[in-house]
């Protein structure tokens, strides 16, 4: 699915991703304010398949899982950044939101068409016939993402184990 790039800078924190004052309202309400502090157009205009591209230390701050959940809820195809804060990175993978790092994200433009290809480890920019190489994800994290996150992954694994026991 091809979407568009939403460009952000360094140090986007979990309070911007999941603002504290909307935390009690459920993921719907929270997602409606996701990243609005950094750019007001984001929660209103982001569409499924769009890609968040950011600088260093994306997701810094608290351990709240809702920071990743809000992006997933909005249908974001994934986040590509120079680096991620550790707990956000874990939460994102466990909730099934692709998060990928890249050594060089220079030249990617806000609003341009983009497709995140997790398996191939590239961000495709079809308008310019360019593909930005991303650091490849290890196989076990790829599997987690492909299954939709930790809970669906474990469900699948347990079901398979049951099958094995039966046969």
């Amino acid at each position: 699915m091809t979407g568009r790039v939403f460009l952000f800078g360094d140090d986007i924190d979990t309070d911007q991703l999941a603002p504290g004052q909307y935390m009690s309202g459920g993921i719907e309400a929270l997602a409606a304010h996701c990243l609005e502090g950094a750019r007001a157009d984001f929660p209103v205009s982001v569409k499924p398949g769009d890609v968040v591209v950011a600088g260093r230390n994306f997701g810094m701050g608290s351990s709240r899982e809702q920071a990743a959940e809000a992006l997933k809820h909005l249908g974001v195809a994934g986040v590509v950044a120079v680096s991620f804060a550790g707990i956000f990175y874990r939460n994102a993978i466990n909730l099934g939101l692709p998060v990928m790092t890249a050594p060089d994200l220079a030249g990617i433009e806000d609003g341009e068409a983009a497709t995140l290809d997790v398996d191939a480890g590239v961000l495709r920019l079809p308008d310019r016939a360019r593909a930005v190489p991303l650091d490849p994800l290890p196989d076990n994290l790829k599997t987690l993402l492909a299954d939709g996150g930790l809970v669906p992954h474990l469900k699948k694994r347990f079901a398979a184990e049951k099958e094995d026991n039966r046969s």
């Binding site: 899982e65 804060a85 550790g86 466990n94 076990n140 994290l141 474990l154 469900k155 347990f158």
Partner: protein
Amino acid sequence: MMATTLAQKIIARAAGRETVKPGEVVTAAVDLAMIHDSGGPRRVEPILKDLGAGLFDRDKVVLISDHYVPGDTDEGARILALTRQWAKDRGVAFHDGQGICHVVLPEKGHLKPGMFVVGGDSHSPTGGAFGAYMFGVGATEMAGVLATGEIWIRVPGTILLEWTGRLGAGVTAKDMMLATCARLGMDGGQYQAVEYAGEAVRALSMQERMTLSNMAAELGAQAGLIAPDETTAQWLAGVGGDAGDWRGLVTDRDAPLLAQHVFDASALQPQAAAPHSPANAAPVGDAGRVAVDVAYIGACTGAKHEDLRAAAAILKGRTAAPGVELLVAPASKTDQDRAEAEGIMAVLEAAGARVLPNACGICAGYGAHRLGEDVTCISSTARNFKGRMGAASSKVWLASPYTVAASAVAGHLADPRDMLAETGA
């Protein structure tokens, strides 16, 4: 053989590998999982149900009630009831009302050098003081760990924090960490492993080391390790534990490090971190005359037996200034009992302290003593984020138990060394 760090050694063993490299993602077997009443049963049980899963090994799960103890609100009472029922149903080790999880876990002999441990709390790096690789995870991940006994981990690089020299009188591990936060910033740990080393660290007691490891969380590190030594082994033997085969658990001399920072312990002054970040730390003497309404000696980083003893060294023969509310929440029942036996609790009470339950209390923002509007508090806790301990308008300064006690007596932020010198301690 390849020279590796302490973190790599523990993770390699847990992952069933000869060696692991920083940046690599591996799946590791968990030796122990710790959960508490807030992030534990009430959050993980619905996920376990959804998965149709039981516990991977109930002997490797420890549940501790601390956040909602004593259950003085309807919500708290309900959560504690649910927690107690779960402990019974699932048959796990349960320490109920014994104190704060990070203090109770080692005190009850659950930790051992070299272990790979996850905790359902952000200050889980505390276990690193015992040479265990321990880190905090969210509820979804914890449910996965409880169901499977394993977790994925990106092998961290190691940031070595070396403290040369010795701390002066009235200067503590808390001051070391506040100064580190100021120098490296709240993301200085880069979600890698921090390791504390050097003469000043070796000289610290286990409880002081626990404060160093605990606040690795404030640096944004995943873990805060200290290589085990005789101090570790003796302490563990004292609680009926067993240090096992700890001698090889070190970072090899020529192991590649991510970074190394050197600090001089002998030049360190008592610190105070201004609201609302631990990274706002500076020598308390530089803070000016800041009046305080509440002095709080509490939390896993600030109310252990030795913290209480430090406060008593200041408060002996002194009282809190009029208008200052002095609150003491000993970190565990065991620590409080020891302090009681040594006359420390009597000193604190004579100084006007009100003694609160062995629990997180207002550090977690719970209970009847939450800070009110515009209150200024000096606190021995680890975090002073806006609104954490009560009203959003409250202001929290962080400091060591010495400094909190001295400020309670003075009625404003004060360097404890002047009072210590007067007492001749």
